[in-house]
């Protein structure tokens, strides 16, 4: 991952640590090889496989209940809660939704979202060690507080962070990243994993463009450079300009889930 600057470039020529000479051969051929000092034991396990398994379990549970799960991610303040509020206003009459809010930045997110009439579960991630992302087991626990049979769509507002949530599958069907025009145009290039992992991107706060020296064409271009073909919705969650294509697209996604 390359949170600050682009690590691929910085580390490309010196990723071999000097103080620790290589004693292992290529992967797959090292089982119980006697090295100079230590006895090597093959493990070959993904560090996050516990989360992965839990995410698959969640996915199965959601599917069994016919619930479509949307995971919304962004930096703090890009407009996750506002976009969600406006989205719920428009889709609640067609699609019964519930919300899990994990963002620790503001405490009133849950209240704002509950006004839509959707059941809202607020997660205090501090409880789980002040995490910078929602993990699959946290979602499982939060989902216990929701009547899954009564809803068709579960929307998760992830923790405001462009790095960590990209690494943690929560059992969702769809991931959407929000970037706002008050952030750098080059953010997609700095956080490529997030933009690659997502199925759609929203460029929010376009109502502010007349007041800013922001190149939204470059921002969209950068998103597409990292994830060719990804749908990008340029909108304002405040004025709801550009909201229609997003709602149409999202509705179609939920519908297509209904049909199988």
């Amino acid at each position: 991952m390359f949170p600050e600057g682009f690590k691929i470039i910085r580390h490309l020529h010196h990723h071999e640590s000097h103080k620790s000479p290589r004693t292992h051969t290529q992967s797959g051929t090292v089982k119980n090889v006697q090295t100079s000092d230590n006895r090597k034991i093959k493990v070959v396990r993904r560090v996050l496989d516990v989360n992965q398994q839990m995410a698959e379990r969640n996915r199965q549970m959601f599917h069994e209940n016919g619930v479509f799960v949307l995971n919304i991610m962004s930096s703090p303040g890009s407009g996750k809660t506002t976009t969600l509020e406006k989205t719920l206003e428009r889709i609640m009459s067609n699609i019964k939704c519930a919300v899990i809010v994990g963002d620790i930045c503001t405490t009133n997110d849950a209240d704002r979202l509950a006004r839509s009439g959707a059941p809202v579960v607020q997660i205090n991630t501090d409880e789980f060690g002040g995490d910078c992302h929602l993990a699959a087991h946290v979602i499982e626990k939060a989902a216990n507080g929701i009547d899954l049979e009564a809803i068709e769509c579960l929307i998760v507002e992830n923790v405001g962070n462009l790095v960590c949530p990209a690494e943690f599958d929560i059992g969702e069907d769809l991931r959407v990243v929000i970037l706002s025009v008050t952030e750098g145009e080059d953010k997609p290039l700095k956080y490529p994993l997030m933009f690659r992992e997502c199925d759609a991107a929203i460029l929010n706060k376009i109502d502010l463009l007349p007041y800013l020296d922001y190149d939204s064409e470059a921002a969209v271009q950068n998103i597409l450079q990292v994830h060719p073909g990804i749908p990008v919705f340029e909108l304002s969650a405040k004025t709801e300009e550009g909201f229609k294509p997003w709602i149409q697209w999202l509705t179609a996604q939920v519908r297509s889930n209904r049909n199988h």
């Binding site: 991952m1 390359f2 682009f6 000092d37 493990v43 996050l48 060719p228 073909g229």
Partner: protein, 122 residues
């Protein structure tokens, strides 16, 4: 940012991987593969690992991190290359239909048991 959680997972998996016939074995080194796309900062992970390993069979163990480059293959022209800039289109034909072959790893490959303990058991 979540390196402590990851370090704790590494300690847990490594501890589980110590063979049953090597009770009291001490792990001297953990060999980890970290893809350049993985959301992990190696320096920070090493620091957290040292803390997470305290009072476990991994106390004082070295965390050896092999960083794995991002390799891709074009679905349209089969060209394979190493992605070293945040451009995820084919170098040759400009297609956006590419497959990432490596670079997402966060895998424990091997653990190394300190020899003095390994010989103690049999």
């Amino acid at each position: 940012m979540h390196e402590m959680g990851i370090a704790m997972q590494i300690v847990e998996i490594a501890t589980e991987s110590i063979p049953k016939d090597m009770a009291h074995a001490r792990v001297a080194r953990v060999n980890l593969k970290v893809g350049k796309l993985a959301a992990v900062v190696p320096e920070s992970l090493r620091f957290c690992f040292e803390v997470a390993a305290r009072e476990t069979p991994l106390a004082g163990a070295e965390l050896h991190i092999e960083e794995i480059p991002v390799e891709a293959r074009c679905n349209d022209c089969n060209h394979e290359w190493t992605i070293s800039e945040p451009v995820f289109t084919c170098q040759k034909c400009n297609s956006g239909a590419i497959k990432i072959l490596s670079g997402r790893e966060l895998d424990i490959e091997t653990i190394e048991i300190a020899d003095e303990d390994a010989t103690n058991v049999s």
